[in-house]
């Protein structure tokens, strides 16, 4: 690891001042940033440890629209185990528990999880070309070993996938991200937080370098009874997703009143499936409806040399997740 300065400010203002300077990087749990620094993929001059900031707390507010607020420094384990989350947002709890290991979830924060970088092996290996790590150097995965890579929304500059599980649930749940900078607060819809690679794969998301994530806000919903997060991976636990699906249904007397669907492991960002959701509305909650939605979800998918299996795995995972969500499994 390269030398760096380490500071531990106690006020949000001093963090915002510090991150406005080039070369500075926020450190939360460190489970991704320290890993990348050890690999030499990232080498900030200065780490701003934000653990002393009061960005914790999980609470429900009942304004015009009722919602649940989760502080950016809440641990993944704490969110997953929280009674309010288990009761009202079980999909989020399940997605968090599907990610990493118990030790890592005790380090990983909500803000850090959103900002974690792709696990594309070429991105991690500094001897390899990678447009995300080193813009203009090429993409090792495009013609290389691309079994883990995208089937939606990729460009010829980058075909990496977003690695988070939590974020797949949050995009399905229509969350909003609150961010702060020296200019004040702003709100970013979760669906607009992460980006597709296009010509600038080095940018994973739309957070400006001088902005700090302060909390995530999730509107309450009617999906708690019928939701399910299904993650398919190479071993039973503790591995990144090949494909994952967050499925949530609001079922009234056997008929689907509304639906939410999102996929992980298939695109550069959490992949929301709006068309498939629409197709489910008004349909009976049965296998035939789910299979039809899964087919619709796959429109526009494009595989690379080693990941064609995802074209079959993804719709099967969608069907399976919906079947579980509906309580039919």
């Amino acid at each position: 690891m390269k030398q760096f300065q380490y500071v531990r400010p106690t006020t949000q203002q001093s963090v915002l001042d510090a991150i406005a300077k080039p070369g500075a990087k926020v450190l939360a749990g460190g489970s991704n940033l320290v890993d990348l620094m050890k690999h030499g993929v990232m080498s900030p001059d200065k780490l701003i440890d934000i653990q002393k900031l009061p960005l914790r707390g999980i609470s429900k507010s009942l304004g015009n629209t009722s919602s649940i607020s989760i502080g950016a420094l809440e641990l993944n384990s704490a969110v997953a185990e929280h009674a309010l989350i288990k009761q009202e947002l079980p999909l989020l709890s399940q997605a968090l528990n599907a990610g990493a290991s118990a030790q890592l979830r005790n380090m990983a924060t909500v803000g850090g999880n959103m900002m974690q970088r792709t696990r594309c092996p070429y991105f991690y290996d500094i001897a390899m070309p990678c447009n995300k790590r080193n813009p203009g150097s090429g993409c090792g995965a495009l013609e290389g070993f691309n079994r883990m890579h995208a089937i939606f929304g990729a460009s010829d500059k980058c075909i990496a996938v977003h690695p988070s599980d939590m974020c797949i649930a949050l995009v399905a749940l229509d969350a909003t991200v609150e961010v702060a900078s020296r200019k004040g607060k702003r709100y970013i819809k979760f669906a607009d937080f992460h980006r597709l690679p296009g010509n600038t794969p080095e940018l994973d998301n739309n957070l400006a370098h001088d902005e700090l994530i302060t909390r995530v806000i999730v509107p309450t919903n009617n999906f708690a009874k019928n939701s399910y997060y299904l993650k398919v991976r190479d071993r039973a636990s503790y591995a990144f997703a090949l494909v994952s699906v967050a499925a949530a249904l609001d079922i009234d007397n056997g008929t689907i009143r509304s639906a939410r669907l999102a996929m992980g492991g298939v695109a550069h960002k959490p992949w929301r499936l709006h068309e498939a959701e629409k197709a489910l509305v008004g349909k009976p909650a049965n296998k035939a409806s789910f299979e039809q939605a899964a087919q619709i979800a796959m429109q526009g998918a494009k595989a690379y040399k080693d990941n064609a299996f995802k074209l079959k795995l993804a719709p099967a995972t969608i069907t399976e997740a919906l079947t579980h969500a509906a309580g039919l499994a």
Binding site: M1, K2, Q3, F4, Q5, Y6, V7, R8, P9, T10, T11, S14, D17, A18, L27, G30, S31, V34, D35, M37, K38, H39, L47, D49, Q51, S77, A100, S101, A102, Q103, L104, N106, M107, A236, S237, Y238
Partner: protein
């Protein structure tokens, strides 16, 4: 600035490398001399009341941490991980380095009672906290019930992953996630054993859990 006055600290165990002339020199200087020697940027930071540690501009920083019940006042480079601090500076080699990248669990320790991977934890981030390693689990000569159970159930072969497994196993019960074999397997999945001792580890955990002792 008081951090420079290390000698005043009652819990000082003298664990920093002895052959650091710069440190020894700094230790002997008065506060005033230290300020005079401080690079301009730090003085400026202090004048502006930026609430960041002025020591950040030195290559080493003070770290106060309780490890296995002993208060340690240390001086470390910010890039030192908790794992390397434990093994290399404090010679607590019970905590193992497997992958060094968060993938195997060999380095699992408890920080303020919660299990974490010490290889991805910067040591500076545990300032003011309590760290427990495998060396701190036993009560004097009396082994921890989980250590006893691992021995009884043949929970290890080569033993390399064992300290991390035991730290996780204790946490697994404390977290309330040892209620079935499937749950134990899921919540122990962050600890990889290349000898494949898993079935016996699960048995050991189930026995300790069933015994109902405080772990």
């Amino acid at each position: 600035m008081e951090d420079l006055n290390k000698d005043a600290c009652p819990h000082h165990h003298g664990n920093e490398p002895k052959e650091n002339p710069r440190r020894n020199f700094l230790k002997q200087t008065s506060l005033l001399t230290a300020v005079a020697l401080t690079p301009g940027v730090a003085v400026k930071a202090a004048e502006n009341h930026l609430d960041e540690a002025v020591a950040a501009v030195f290559e080493k920083m003070p770290l106060h941490v309780e490890i296995n019940g002993v208060n340690q006042s240390l001086s470390i480079e910010p890039r030192v991980t908790l794992l390397d601090l434990l093994r290399e500076q404090l010679h607590l080699t019970g905590t193992k380095k497997g992958c060094d990248y968060g993938q195997c669990g060999a380095c699992t320790v408890h920080v303020d009672g919660h299990r974490v991977n010490s290889c991805l934890t910067l040591a500076m981030t545990v300032d003011g906290k309590k760290v427990t390693t495998i060396e701190g689990l036993a009560n004097g000569d009396e082994l921890h019930p989980m250590q006893e159970a691992f021995i009884k159930h043949d929970g290890f072969q080569c033993g390399y992953c064992t300290p991390g497994q035991i730290m996780s196993a204790v946490a697994c019960i404390r977290e309330g996630h040892a209620n079935s074999e499937a749950e134990i397997r899921e919540y122990m999945s962050g600890n990889i054993c290349r000898c494949g001792a898993y079935p016996n580890i699960v048995n050991a955990i189930q026995e300790v859990k069933a015994g109902g002792q405080q772990v």
